[in-house]
């Protein structure tokens, strides 16, 4: 067993371990990332640059940008559940114009490729955000199709393949950069959703957003969250997300970005083996603000342990276990 120097007590700024050279680069549909690690949208901000060497990450991802300002959901917005958390933040946004004016610069200064997450309450809104940000400094868009769509009675877009296809194709048409589509965890139809995104021109799909859930306070006889329901994330969802990544990778011919409960280099390996080309880290950032840099630091040793000197050689090499 390998013990990483990253586990030793130290304060931010102390040097990390030297590792044998391993090629950690991955190709995400024409976008070469220095390594497969990026934050999940909403679980990262330029504030984290105070706490970790952000330039070591494969990419950074912004909070989802909407066309207009929106306040987010009622409080309480977060609660802990066993091995995970539940949130109903509701994606507050200052709107695309304000993001362009004062938000994007903070990300652009981080010296890592910037993926802009875009949202919308209607098809036109997604297109408008893409259009208004098309000429800005960024590496890719990620379309958050898990937003409640007002044209479809609040249903999320990816429950309606035709609607999702329309949104994705419209964003692709307005962007010269790669377009990722972040899918919600539809347990039965993830492959179909990934294929729909691919056919509409997406460069990659991110699998997946948080899982719909609820927490109840029996003493108060109320929901724990002000919005009633929320999204479950953290270690508890890792097996669910791994299955969806596996299914999406089987169904689609475009790269998959895995997301769900990742907090160590060994988790990254599991997602790559299941078919992911890159990964997003979300909930783990809260308790360990340096976790993404630590995972990047541990990737070479992990690759060596698994017998490869190119991280990308792990992608999709999982086989189903046969009897020993």
């Amino acid at each position: 067993m390998t013990t990483s120097i990253a586990d030793a007590p130290r304060e931010h700024g102390a040097p990390g371990p030297a590792a044998p050279w391993v090629d950690t680069r991955v190709e995400l549909g024409g976008l070469t990332l220095a390594n497969p690690v990026m934050p999940a949208s909403g679980c990262f901000g330029p504030e984290l640059a105070d706490l970790l060497p952000v330039e070591t990450l494969g990419a950074v991802v912004t909070k989802t940008v909407f066309a207009s300002a929106r306040p987010g959901n009622a409080t309480h917005r977060i609660t802990e559940v066993p091995n995970g958390m539940l949130n109903s933040v509701g994606i507050p946004s200052r709107g695309v114009a304000e993001f362009r004016r004062s938000g994007l610069g903070g990300y652009a200064a981080l010296d890592a490729p910037v993926v802009i997450s875009i949202g919308g309450l209607s098809t036109q809104e997604y297109w408008r955000v893409a259009e208004e940000l098309a000429d800005t400094e960024h590496a890719a868009f990620e379309i958050n199709v898990s937003c409640p769509n007002l044209e479809r009675g609040g249903q999320t877009l990816d429950t309606d393949p035709r609607a999702m296809s329309e949104v994705v194709a419209g964003v692709v048409a307005r962007s010269a950069k790669p377009v990722l589509v972040k899918l919600s965890p539809q347990l039965q139809t993830i492959g179909e959703a990934a294929k729909t995104a691919e056919d509409a021109g997406a460069t990659a799909v991110t699998v997946c957003n948080s899982f719909p859930g609820m927490a109840v306070n029996p003493d108060r006889r109320t929901s724990e969250l002000g919005n009633g329901m929320g999204g479950v994330s953290g270690p508890v969802v890792k097996p669910l997300a791994l299955r969806l990544v596996w299914l999406a990778a089987q169904a689609a011919g475009i790269p998959v970005v895995g997301c769900g409960g990742i907090r160590a280099a060994s988790d990254v390996a599991e997602f790559l083996l299941a078919g992911a080309t890159a990964v997003q880290i979300g909930t783990a950032n809260f308790a360990q603000p340096y976790v993404m840099a630590k995972v990047v630091e541990e990737l070479p040793a992990m690759a060596r342990r698994l017998g490869v000197d190119r991280i990308s050689d792990l992608i999709g090499t999982l086989t189903i276990r046969a009897e020993d």
Binding site: A8, P9, R10, E11, H12, G13, G42, C43, F44, G45, P46, E47, L48, D50, L51, K63, S68, A69, R70, P71, G72, A74, T75, H76, R77, I78, T79, E80, P82, N83, G84, M85, N87, V89, P92, R94, G226, G234, P235, T283, N285, F286, A287, Q288, P289, Y290
Partner: protein, 272 residues
Amino acid sequence: MSSPATLGVLAGERPMPTWARTQVLVNRPLTDRYRLLRFRSATIAARAEAGQFVMLSPATESGPVLPRPMAIYTRDAGSGSVDIVYGVVGSGTKALAALEPGATVVVTGPLGRGFVVHEETGHVLLIGRGVGICAMTTVAQDLAGTGVRVSAVLSGRHESAIIGAEVFRGCHGDVRLATDADETSGVAVLRERLHRGFDGDPPQQILTSGSARLTRMSGELAARWHATVQVSIEAHMACGLGYCHGCAAGDGDGTHEAPLVCRDGPVFRLRG
């Protein structure tokens, strides 16, 4: 919690946080319901301003997923140690209570905007209840020996349940206790007592934490004495830095989000 319409964001620099995987030095009962945890971090001890907080969690694989926001109770730049006080109420604080000295915790801080004592202020009145008092002890630490007088009204269930009295006394504060046990903590009784005690010598600033009732009373007292009020509020948090937007101090105005407790607070100006 006060309604967001009454909260104003104080001017000030953004914090300069760091993180540390560091050792628990002390973890012991402080009162019947609260425990004191001391950890080592020279950087946080040196940088922490009065009223700021840290995010803290045990560095264990199976530990709580979310760190817990903890007011900095006292800090000692000399020894590089920081004290926090917590009640054991849920899974996260149960996990903290189980940590032995020498155990590793992950701490991020100092975070948030703390209390601001204005230059012209000669007398500060601190009004706190329960674990909320812990947000204000560092104010007394900083004002000790500066010539600014500190009066502290500390409220709790009974005398031995009150946190912080010895810290305020150690900083030469004028400490007055108000307890449920002797029926001196009710707002009507307390308000009357504070009128008698301070009408002839009113503070220029009231700082409060730990009770919505005491926050409202502080507003009334401030109007009477032409003083200003700052309030430290608590919220569920995930990131502690502002990027997760989990801790809005209310429901916003329909278009814009309410201030975030971690980034814009935890100390706010109470609007009159």
